[in-house]
């Protein structure tokens, strides 16, 4: 593969990973401050009302993406991978609540981080 093409792919992967991580961070911030929607039904009632319940555990993906972004922006892959490991663990553990929604993004981040890691190693 030509070198300029490789560089372009790595750059594109890095930008995509940064944007994706930022998206996850925004989602985590939303869930932390606003919450996840849920129907609340009173006893004896047939219909309920939608309310948002802040999810304190969202602080974990927020911190994880901050670490991941820090690693990507400073080109320190180990730090980025640590952030990713925390994020993916959270996604699996919290699969039935907010973690399940993060799983597809975690999968994409895994692909992008792999591409970036291989490219940087080859370049060095």
């Amino acid at each position: 593969m030509a070198k300029p093409l490789k560089v372009s792919i790595v750059n594109a992967a890095t930008v995509a990973a940064i944007l994706l991580a930022a998206g996850v961070a925004l989602y985590a911030l939303f869930v932390l401050l606003v919450g996840v929607p849920g129907i609340v039904v009173g006893e004896g009632e047939v219909t309920g009302s939608v309310r948002y319940f802040p999810h304190p555990a969202a602080v974990v993906p927020l911190l994880a993406t901050a670490i991941l972004l820090g690693g990507l922006l400073t080109r320190k892959l180990l730090i980025a991978w640590i952030g990713f490991a925390i994020l993916s663990t959270f996604s699996v553990l919290f699969l039935f609540s907010i973690g399940g929604g993060l799983l597809p993004m975690t999968g994409l981040l895994l692909i992008l981080l792999t591409i970036i890691t291989i490219s940087w190693r080859n370049a060095s």
Partner: protein
């Protein structure tokens, strides 16, 4: 019928809640047998200083008065009206105070004699406790003798993230009044909550109160149940267990005892993810 009193000072407070037909100054014809019905007086038309009835002084200095029934209507929804009535030295039953709102807003010289004649050692309740008096026709006097306590808990099913990973929730709240002999439910409620964290959701199928013992009784309680499932049941992650959909029920139960103690319990049935736990929000001790 005659009322014989040896005390020159008699304080009566009569509270009527809600829209009660007011009986005016009408007098009924005495029945052939038995004592005549008491004269009913419309308390709404009374003002401080009005004479409700006049008695006759007996030989021993006692004051004999025809039975009098004073009725008042609540000035509005949830409001309370009080009348202070005193027997003066001239053997007359006189209105000495009239006010709206909590008992504690009334004149001290009217309230204190009333509190002294209560059967149990009374404490003037804090203003929130005076909500008791707005319950359908409950006597203000009996409400004074009891204290309020609220117990509330949150029961929840959690996922593999532990108790931070709440998926379905059930709350139950019991407020009861206790006086050392009996407890009575003042109010009780419960809610059920699902969530929609992604393309799937935790659905509330039903939310019901399955048992209530209102009292008065030595122990009162309430029990609620919430039914839930993961939807759509056949799709990931709802189809992870062998039995699709994680159909389950959460139960909460709160009780109140005549001595003021309260216990909260919970249990569940059906298929759950990782576990069920609860948080005590208040009371439950």
């Amino acid at each position: 019928m005659k009322i014989k009193t040896t005390s020159l000072l008699l304080s009566l407070v009569l509270v009527t809640i809600g829209v009660t037909p007011v009986v005016g100054n009408s007098r009924s014809l005495p029945p052939v047998e038995g004592p005549p019905p008491p004269v009913e007086v419309n308390g709404d038309e009374l003002a401080v200083g009005d004479i409700v009835a006049t008695g006759i002084r007996g030989e021993g200095g006692d004051c004999n008065i025809d039975a009098v029934k004073v009725r008042t209507t609540a000035p509005g929804q949830g409001k309370t009206q009080w009348l202070g009535i005193v027997l003066d030295t001239h053997c007359r039953v006189v209105v000495n105070a009239k006010w709206e709102g909590p008992l504690t807003d009334g004149p001290v010289d009217v309230i204190e004699p009333l509190l002294r004649i209560l059967p149990v050692s009374p404490t003037i309740p804090e203003k929130p406790q005076l909500d008791l008096m707005s319950r359908g026709g409950a006597s203000g006097l009996s409400a004074l003798a009891c204290s309020l306590k609220t117990s509330e808990q949150l029961v929840f099913m959690y996922g593999y993230g532990g108790t931070w990973d709440k998926l379905t929730r059930k709350t139950g709240k019991l407020t009861f009044c206790y006086d050392g002999v009996n407890a009575t439910i003042n109010s009780q409620s419960g809610t059920c909550q699902g969530s929609t964290p992604g393309s799937w959701s935790w659905v509330v199928d039903a939310c019901v109160t399955i048992d209530v013992r209102s009292g008065p009784a030595p122990i009162v309680w309430r029990t609620g149940r919430g039914d839930y499932h993961c939807n759509p049941p056949s799709q990931f992650p709802c189809n992870i267990p062998a039995q699709d959909g994680y159909y389950h029920s959460l139960y909460d139960s709160e009780d109140g005892h005549s001595n003021g103690t309260s216990h909260c319990s919970f249990w569940w049935t059906g298929v759950i993810v990782a576990g069920v736990d609860r948080q005590i929000l208040q009371g439950c001790t």
